[in-house]
């Protein structure tokens, strides 16, 4: 029964909106800030694309489409990881 209660709690936590969960991880804004700081001074294609995708993620978040905002933020972070710095 105790296991069942734990499962239920986890289930409810998972179903809650991301912004209301204490274990949801950083917000789109926080991730965007980290990415922009990390890419400061980078001028290659991947860095530019990462910044552009971050802007899309922020716009989607502003329209309350958190799921899509996260997907674009994931794409932005993948591009950022390919950036080799200044050119």
């Amino acid at each position: 029964m105790r296991i069942a209660a734990t499962m239920l709690a986890l289930l409810l936590l998972g179903a809650a909106p991301a912004w209301s969960s204490p274990i949801a991880g950083p917000s789109i804004e926080e991730r965007a800030d980290i990415l922009r700081t990390q890419l400061k001074g980078h001028a290659d294609y991947h860095a530019h694309l990462a910044r552009e995708l971050t802007t899309v993620a922020e716009a989607e978040k502003a329209q309350h489409d958190i799921r899509i905002a996260k997907i674009f933020m994931d794409m932005a972070e993948r591009e950022a990881s390919k950036s080799e710095g200044e050119q």
């Binding site: 296991i3 069942a4 499962m7 239920l8 986890l10 289930l11 998972g14 179903a15 001028a43 290659d44 294609y45 860095a47 530019h48 694309l49 910044r51 552009e52 995708l53 802007t55 899309v56 899509i68 997907i71 674009f72 994931d74 794409m75 050119q87």
Partner: protein, 210 residues
Amino acid sequence: MKHARLLLSLTLALTAGCAAKISLPLNDPQLGEAREAIKQARQADAEQCAPALQAKAVASLYWAAHEITEEEYHPDENASLIANAVRYARQAEAKAKKMCWRLEGVHFAFDSAELTPDSRTTLDDAVAKLKKARHIRVEIAAHTDSIGTEDYNLKLSERRAKAVFDYFVTHGIDGSRLTVKGYGESQPVASNDTKEGRALNRRVELRVQQ
């Protein structure tokens, strides 16, 4: 225990659902013009020579592709995103062609850094251009296709870039205006899966330094 198993299955199913990724319908016919413009810009090496504009074009394409998947899709509104992608890609292509001169017609003997005699016309044109534009510095950037190992291709491209450098210097260009870089197969401008794509990828460019 039975309940616990049921809840576990439900939890895993929901977790899997949250982790699902969307796939963008990049091949949708509505995106055809934008796709083609981005491809043309890429073949002009816009990722290297006009990276900011090319990134704007690609991000606009991705965004437009996502909008197509929306339940309440508005083609009219999405048209402006698609138009942006086309506009940025064309600007990227134009800038890339201005900033990076593809030395069309420069060839090397197979698996070698020896310039073939027919390369002279193109190289002489480049020498004339460099003599005219005395204030600019350029990087000689050589590229290969992906046939062969990465390491081998990198070294081959370095030797090929150096061969072009030597040609320029012996024809009166001040070596201090030139830098040399071999990129191997790392910066393709087309698919390496086709003969035509590989031919585009084997190239030498002069990149005007800002």
